[in-house]
């Protein structure tokens, strides 16, 4: 339609606007809403879950995991265990450079593994404890030597322990490296304003640059789930992680946003003080396994999941979810059985045992405590709830100043990461104070067996013992809930809950 003469002056403006729009569509930005502000962006020192979300765009690892938790190549293209399983030889991807232009090679791998093991304050030291040394065989081949066979090693290399940073930049920055991380991922670090944004821009020399479709990624921490969702709805974000389960129904009904719901690799559970301090002996719950069994039988996990998580979780009874290939099928999720629970309490001579359930003040944990209190009452339990701010509750747990504690774990790809530190004597996360030599031996054995079928058999033995002793009553496995604009394509639902930004793009269709 021809423009009226009086509006003709608009033509150049219109052309300009279209030009700007065209430019804007070329320079694409992906805006991601995070649930928290990440901690330091140094893979060696990093501690938080949310930091790993940012690392997924910033730092490539030797290996990655896929939707089925299978280990797939990333910076390493292949591996070979030695005959005695005490060394792992890695073939490296050629032609990879760090964001500062430095070459990625075997020497860089050696530097990184040694940095993880020696940097003061390193959080990776424990993950790589069995690695005694690294040999550079040729520029693209490296060998990790172990004190003893260590089956979780490959899985460790799919997370922060496998992240490779530029040796030159790391040496120059020392322990300040996290302020300006230099890795080799699809995006490189541009700027960070604490509690406001982390900006990454495209790495033009990425080894898999065809999979990178954005010029910039901006991570914005917005702790309030309602506000995070409002930002997505208002079009200010393209993707948000961890929306509230209670919002799922509404989002799906509106059909304006896409959602992903991925079962986590961690768990939610009740840790019971069975030997951490004298308090363990002070209550029938800590003293008598029959009372703990009664408590478990008094719980209706499906009901718990429905009330606490709006069904956005799956009931479980082990350190890995029932859908996980490492789940020990010999110990299935028990059904609620009040009659049996009452009978067990009678046998234990305490028909109305009482205990205090410590809970952090997060809303999920407090709801769990209330539901557990109500359900357990039907079997005769008198549960008192004690809520404390998270840091305080953790301190109490660490001192053994608790009887039972609502505690979640974010999970690691290998079951060892959900098991070892929790059930082996005197390990840092063994808040229950569980210490059984038979279990220690079995868990240690599971680390030395490389064959998955054999390893699974060992886990079945661990499950048979630990799930009978119940230092932790596992309740359910949450789902990672993501919401995003429907034009975002290529979202990969990987159970670690970390969004992989390479491969993502906006659909061109309107």
């Amino acid at each position: 339609m021809p423009l009226r003469p009086s509006l003709r002056f608009l033509r150049p403006l219109l052309a300009l606007a279209l030009g700007v729009a065209a430019l804007a569509s070329q320079a694409q930005t992906l805006r991601i809403g995070l649930a928290e502000d990440p901690d330091v962006l140094d893979p060696t020192l990093a501690r938080s879950f949310v930091g790993r979300v940012v690392f997924a765009g910033l730092c490539d690892k030797l290996f990655d995991i896929d939707e089925k938790l299978a280990i797939v190549p990333q910076l390493a293209t292949g591996y070979q265990w030695s005959a005695d399983n005490k060394s792992l030889t890695l073939k490296l991807r050629p032609g990879v450079t760090f964001h500062d232009g430095e070459k990625f090679d075997a020497a860089a791998v050696k530097f990184n593994i040694e940095r993880h093991k020696t940097l003061a304050g390193s959080n990776r030291r424990g993950e790589l404890a069995p690695v005694t040394g690294v040999d550079v065989i040729d520029p693209m081949t490296v060998r990790l030597n172990l004190a003893a066979p260590f089956s979780p090693l490959l899985a460790q290399l799919t997370d922060r322990a496998g992240m490779m940073v530029s040796p030159k930049a790391a040496q120059a920055a020392g322990d300040k490296f996290g302020a300006h991380p230099v890795c080799s991922g699809p995006f490189k670090f541009t700027e960070r304003v604490a509690q406001d944004r982390i900006v990454l821009e495209r790495n033009p020399n990425y080894w898999n640059k065809d999979a990178v479709h954005f010029d910039k990624v901006i991570y914005t921490p917005i702790p309030d789930a309602t506000v995070r969702l409002a930002n997505l709805r208002a079009g200010q974000l393209d993707f948000i992680e961890r929306f509230a389960p209670s919002d799922m129904e509404k989002i799906q009904a509106e059909k304006k946003l896409k959602t992903s719901s991925i079962t986590e690799i961690g768990y939610q559970g009740l840790t019971i003080n069975v030997g951490k301090s004298d308090k363990a002996k002070a209550t029938p719950l800590g003293r008598d396994p029959r009372v703990r069994e009664a408590l478990e039988l008094s719980l209706d996990r499906a009901g718990l999941v429905q009330v606490v998580m709006d069904n956005e979780a799956i009931a479980g009874n082990q350190w890995v979810p029932p859908t996980n290939s490492w789940y020990a099928k010999n110990v299935p999720v028990p059904k609620r059985d009040i009659v049996r629970a009452k009978q067990l309490l009678k046998e234990a001579g305490v028909p109305n045992p009482s205990f205090t359930l410590l809970t952090p003040t997060t809303s999920d944990a407090q709801r769990i405590a209330l539901v557990v209190q109500a359900m357990a009452r039907e079997a005769g339990f008198d549960v008192k709830i004690q809520a404390a701010e998270f840091a305080t509750s953790l301190n109490m747990a660490d001192k053994g100043d608790f009887e039972a504690y609502v505690l979640a774990w974010s999970g690691r790809p290998d079951p060892d990461g959900n098991l070892y530190s929790f059930h082996v004597c005197n390990q840092p996360l063994n808040y229950a104070g569980y210490c059984v030599p038979e279990v220690d031996n079995l868990v240690k054995q599971s680390r030395e067996v490389l064959d998955p079928a054999q390893r699974k058999k060992v886990f079945e033995q661990v499950a048979a013992k630990v799930l009978k002793d119940r230092p932790i009553i596992y309740l359910y496995h949450r789902k990672w809930l993501w919401a995003y604009t429907p034009k975002l394509q290529g979202v990969r639902e990987i159970p670690d809950g970390l969004l992989r930004v390479s491969g993502l793009k906006f659909s061109t269709a309107p």
Partner: protein, 313 residues
Amino acid sequence: MGEFLVRRIAQLLPTLVLVSMLIFGLQQLLPGDPAKILAGEEQDPQVIAYLHQKLHLDDPLPVRYAYWVGGVLRGDLGESVRNQQPVLHLIAQKLPVTLELALLAMAIALVIGIPAGIVSAVGRGTAWDWGANVFALWGISTPNFWLGILLILLFSVNLGWLPASGYVSPLEDLGANLKAMIMPAFVLGNAIAAVLMRHTRSAMLQVLSSDYVRTARAKGLDEKTVVLKHALRNALTPIITLGALELGTLLSGAVLTEQVFTIPGFGKLIVDAVFNRDYAVVQGVVLVTATAYMVLNLLADVAYIAVNPRLRH
């Protein structure tokens, strides 16, 4: 006046030292070993030991305080253990944001609160008075986070007029900056306006019933001069005190409002720091806000003298 200022400024320093000691001491009452909080999920004992050493956690309290004061005197407020950024840098990032938000909120509060208070006092018992009181009651009793979320739903999600949250520097884009700040500033200003309105009203009512106002009216001065020139000026002293206190509170960070609108200001910084036991950050922010509070109080005192010449002697 000069002597008064010198005396007041001389009082600032010992007060600041006391405040910093108090905060340093109070932080130690927070339960839990900060190293364990900072060590993250893994709770690696070696990391915890390292953090103990790095943060001097095993030294006696006075020694730790001395380390901190030594740093402050050299212009080093320490470093955030959580994200490795220098505290001074974090403060420099957040202070302008909080300052802008506080000033905008205060401007909104003043523009609404004082005229509403005057109108309500002058028209006591009328529909104006009633309306202003209802507004005040609403402003005081509306929780900030709730009003914030409602505004976001209305103006951002439904109408799409304003960004839901976030912050843009005014140096980058003034328009975008104001668009991002108007809702949070209104939420904060609205609550303060209500308080200011109530105080203006009662101060004005008291002054309007005094003898000199009757005299002024008897002299035949028009109502506008009586109210704005004679009455308001005398009613201002308590309002200035209140305004300075409210502004001080705003400068120490509007935690909930900043959370809702994701404004990266002092409130978010200090709350996160407390939960993460990031002592250096807590200490640095408190030092800055305590200074701001004291300077504002000093300015309020100066302002009394400006509006009330009787105080000059």
